[in-house]
């Protein structure tokens, strides 16, 4: 069964510092990969996605992520963190069948809580 691991439960950075949140997945083929963010009292907002093609994907709010097949990783990065980035971040995968279709079930990682110090 597929799984997603986010090794860091809680990360603290200073405002303006760079950020990298780690995500590793276990899946037999290349999955569809996502990063979602959840601010307090809010739903899960999609930051970015990877389906195929260029392994460096750009998302909203200045975030990017790089898919590395050899490492089964999809790490999220931001060059300069803002105080408003404080939230919980979830990596997720969705499986697809041999025909390339999917019923869309998402498997989530544990989440990483980001705290930003001024």
């Amino acid at each position: 069964a597929q799984s997603v691991t986010q090794p860091d439960i809680h990360i603290t950075v200073s405002e303006g510092a760079s950020l990298e949140l780690r995500c590793n997945y276990s899946y037999g083929a290349t999955p569809y990969l996502f990063w979602y963010v959840q601010s307090p009292g809010q739903g899960l907002q999609l930051l970015l996605k990877y389906f195929s093609g260029d392994t460096l994907v750009q998302g909203i709010k200045g975030f990017e992520a790089e898919f590395k097949r050899s490492q089964s990783s999809f790490n999220l990065r931001k060059p300069s963190v803002h105080w408003s980035d404080a939230a919980e971040y979830f990596c997720a995968v969705v499986s697809r069948n041999a025909g390339g279709t999917s019923y869309g079930k998402l498997t989530f990682g544990q989440g990483t809580i980001l705290t930003v110090h001024p």
Binding site: T101, K105, L106, F108
Partner: protein, 116 residues
């Protein structure tokens, strides 16, 4: 921007009572989902729904759970007889269609269910 709406935001119920969590998916979406997140744990898939039937469900989604799309806009999750362990945040999500390019789920803000 269109959004998924969930009501209520917080539901408190007594153990053994029935609860219905409501969701209004994005209007042109065809796939609907429920997930839950027990405090401190992962977001877990419960069920997916397409063309008025369940397309996939998890082990969590036992006979106590049911989903329904009673009209053209609402999508509900019913828990027939709540248990303490059903206390969690429940998220509804919807997706436009099956195609790869549209395989993006949009989530509501969630309903926090507290079973006493």
């Amino acid at each position: 921007e269109p959004e998924v709406t969930q009501t209520p935001s917080h539901q408190v119920t007594q153990m053994g009572q029935e609860v219905i969590l409501r969701c209004v998916p994005i209007s042109n979406h065809l796939y609907f989902y429920w997930y839950r997140q027990i405090l401190g744990q992962k977001v877990e898939f419960l069920v997916s729904f397409y063309n008025n039937e369940i397309s996939e469900k998890s082990e969590i989604f036992d006979d106590q759970f049911s989903v329904e799309r009673p009209d053209g806009s609402n999508f509900t999750l019913k828990i027939r007889s709540t248990k303490l362990e059903d206390s969690a945040m429940y998220f509804c999500a919807s997706r436009e269609r099956l195609a790869v390019a549209k395989n993006i789920q949009y989530f509501g803000a969630g309903t926090r269910l507290s079973v006493l």
